[in-house]
């Protein structure tokens, strides 16, 4: 599968111009599949995007759309029976998909790091916070144990953990959900990665804690100049969070746009449907417009637009061939043949 001609341009690039010239992360034609007894699950069907240094991009989609598999593919963490079958993931000029497993260990955590939805499943419950934090510092940054402990305290302070020094000897179960996510962030940024992948890191948290973590990630991003790939289902959350948004449906990007542009002028009927199904921002009382039906099974490779069966604009042409992602205005791309009629 070849990469589409469209090259998304980052918001960071709009501001400075330099980032687009050499993106820190460049994904081309990524295809990930799972071979199961029921058949082949087409989780990711050839997606391409660039991420500029310091830029933030959100991949937004519903459960089963392939957004998490997209993220795991970047880090070589797709669980069996899944496999990346095509594409390139170019980070700092190297194609990660060509790396041997040993090569991954110098990349993962060091150049690209990930935080997950549930920190309790990614923290080791029997090791202290200090032990888990210092391990990466010793291995990746070659610090002595003493230096690593000092750095760990610094990191915990940076992510806003009170009494950082005394928390090193705590186990994860001593911490609240919000504090665990802060520790995960401290581990993720400990080697100053160029790219941080955040997979729904606030979904399990309460709204006031979510606001704390979002503010923290934005602050860390600004301070450390990391690029962020934010994976989420929450269109309301990303509105105040990222530079650009990619909307994913059934394994493909259906729309990519700078954040303000996407909310003001959505050009894919699925994006329009998602935005209309949310309660209004101003609290005006109106009936929600639901998207009828449900997402398709990923067991069949789509032969046309995957959204067509639920789409109010669907026409016969939509079913003959997958619509390509094309740029319809600067930095705004949509995979809809009838994009001119789509809108809020």
């Amino acid at each position: 599968m070849s990469a589409p001609a469209f090259r998304p341009v980052g918001a960071a690039a709009e501001a400075g111009g330099a980032a687009a010239a050499s993106p820190v992360l460049s994904v081309r034609g990524l295809v990930t599949r799972f071979s199961t007894r029921e058949g082949t699950v087409h989780a990711v069907n050839g997606i391409s995007y660039d991420l500029g240094a310091g830029e933030s991009l959100a991949i937004v989609g519903e459960s089963g759309c392939g957004k998490t598999v997209t993220a795991l593919s970047l880090l070589g963490l797709v669980p069996p029976p899944g496999r990346v079958v095509a594409g390139e993931v170019i980070l700092n000029g190297r194609d990660l998909l060509q790396l041997p497993e040993r090569g991954w260990q110098t990349v993962r955590g060091r150049e690209i790091a990930m935080v997950f939805q549930d920190p309790m499943t990614s923290l080791n419950p029997v090791l202290t916070v200090g032990r888990q934090l210092t391990e990466g510092l010793v291995r990746h940054r070659g610090l002595s144990l003493r230096e690593a402990r000092q750095e760990a305290v610094e990191l915990l302070r940076l992510v806003g953990i009170p009494n950082a020094a005394s928390r090193l000897s705590d186990h994860p179960h001593h911490l609240s959900g919000g504090q665990r996510q802060r520790v995960m962030l401290a581990m993720a940024i400990s080697c100053r990665p160029a790219v941080l992948v955040a997979d729904e890191p606030t979904t399990a948290l309460d709204v006031t804690i979510q606001a704390q973590i979002v503010a923290l990630v934005k602050e860390l991003q600004a301070r450390l100049g990391m690029a962020i790939l934010w994976i989420t289902h929450d269109l309301a959350l990303v509105a105040g969070l990222v530079d650009r948004v990619a909307v994913m449906y059934a394994g493909s990007f259906v729309e990519v746009a700078p954040v303000r542009e996407l909310y003001a002028r959505p050009r894919h009927p699925y994006t329009v449907g998602l935005l209309r199904s949310l309660p209004g921002a101003g609290g005006e009382r109106r009936r929600l417009s639901a998207i009828e039906g449900r997402p398709p099974s990923l067991l069949e490779e789509p032969s046309g637009c995957a959204f067509a069966p639920r789409c109010p604009l669907a026409a016969p042409a939509c079913l003959s061939g997958v619509p390509p992602l094309v740029e319809v205005s600067p930095a705004h791309a949509t995979a809809c043949l009838r994009w001119e009629e789509a809108g809020r």
Partner: protein
């Protein structure tokens, strides 16, 4: 302000009256299950749900909102306090008398997969409450099941399916059909959409609103998704650590919150609009919610409140009316307005 489907607030009689509701759970340790403490999940909560309205009960994890729901329906035995449904006290009821009452108060659960018996077919799941409550003639019940399934937007033929064969949205529709089977007047919905995908959430919210208008239902909606509560509720009650901190009309709570906790909560709601999001700023709350096993003395919110004064640390504020129809539990409600 009036909404479709809701009678005039002044004229409406309370369908449900909750007074000084308390639910404590003992913390037991060791082989002898010795009591070593108490989780004060609900610690003196009073509110009314008016005939025909939707009351939203909101709060973060550990606030006790789900325990209120379960205690109101007597799925949990209250430690103390009174719950009156249509004027009748439920606290002392047991056995047959409680069963008769329950017919008119039903619950919709968060996770439709966990709340539906995986070994039963959809038809049997929806029919079960009809058999238990002996609704209609046994021979007619299957026809009633088909009508219920159709009413919640399911193909009546799905009666033959097992829950695992349905999507999350369809399973929640089954949960709703089951709750409706006995012809309830009050529905307590505990996070009915939070396990569902965004595009499906709106379908279920619309269905609940249609059913309410059509069948004259009253809802007590427990939710943490505040934008959905704002959409769906007439009045809102905000809980923090087992206590109510503020209750009022939807617009009062969301547009002019008075309690510092409500303010922080409302300001933290993500808004699906980048322009608006950039223009507002969340009121940050320091720290985490304290444990309900050891709530702080005085005002339970004082450890995180930006407006704490000496009095807040020692004296627990009463929930009192500060403007018409709005109750706030804060010593400084007037000066902070």
């Amino acid at each position: 302000m009036s909404f479709p489907g809701r009678p005039d607030a002044a004229a409406a009689a309370p369908l449900l009256e909750v007074r000084d509701l308390v639910k404590h759970f003992p913390i037991q340790r060791g082989f002898l299950r010795r009591g070593v403490g108490t989780v004060r999940a609900v610690d003196g909560v009073s509110f009314d749900v008016l005939q025909g309205e939707t009351l939203g009960l909101v709060g973060e994890s550990g606030s006790g909102k789900s325990t209120v729901a379960r205690t109101v329906l007597r799925l949990e035995e209250p430690t103390s306090g009174s719950v009156r449904f249509e004027g009748e006290e439920l606290a002392g009821l047991a056995g047959e008398a409680l069963r008769l009452r329950r017919r008119h108060m039903q619950m919709i659960f968060q996770d439709p997969f966990a709340s539906l018996n995986p070994r039963m077919r959809v038809g049997a799941i929806v029919r079960e409450p009809l058999d238990i409550h002996r609704v209609g003639e046994p021979g007619e019940r299957d026809r009633r099941v088909a009508a219920l399934l159709e009413r919640v937007g399911l193909d009546p033929r799905s009666a033959r399916h097992f829950p695992y064969q349905l999507s999350g949205g369809q399973r929640q529709r089954v949960g709703i059909a089951r709750a409706l089977a006995t012809g309830p007047r009050l529905i307590v919905a505990d996070e009915p959409i939070s396990a569902l995908d965004v595009s499906i959430q709106a379908q279920i919210v619309n269905l609940l609103e249609d059913l309410k208008d059509e069948l004259g239902l009253t809802y007590l909606l427990i939710a943490h998704d505040l934008s959905m509560v704002r959409h769906a509720c007439h009045r809102v009650a905000v809980m923090y650590l087992g206590r109510l901190v503020e209750t009022g009309e939807r617009t009062d709570i969301f547009d002019r919150p008075r309690h510092p906790y409500t303010r922080a909560l409302v300001s933290s709601i993500p808004v699906p609009d980048p322009e608006r999001q950039a223009a507002r700023s969340a009121i940050p709350l320091e720290g985490d919610v304290p444990s309900p096993a050891a709530p702080p003395p005085g005002c339970r919110f004082h450890t995180r409140c930006p407006f704490t004064v000496a009095r807040c640390r020692v004296e627990e504020p009463e929930l009192r009316e500060v403007t018409a129809g709005r109750l706030v539990a804060c010593h400084r409600a007037e000066e902070l307005a």
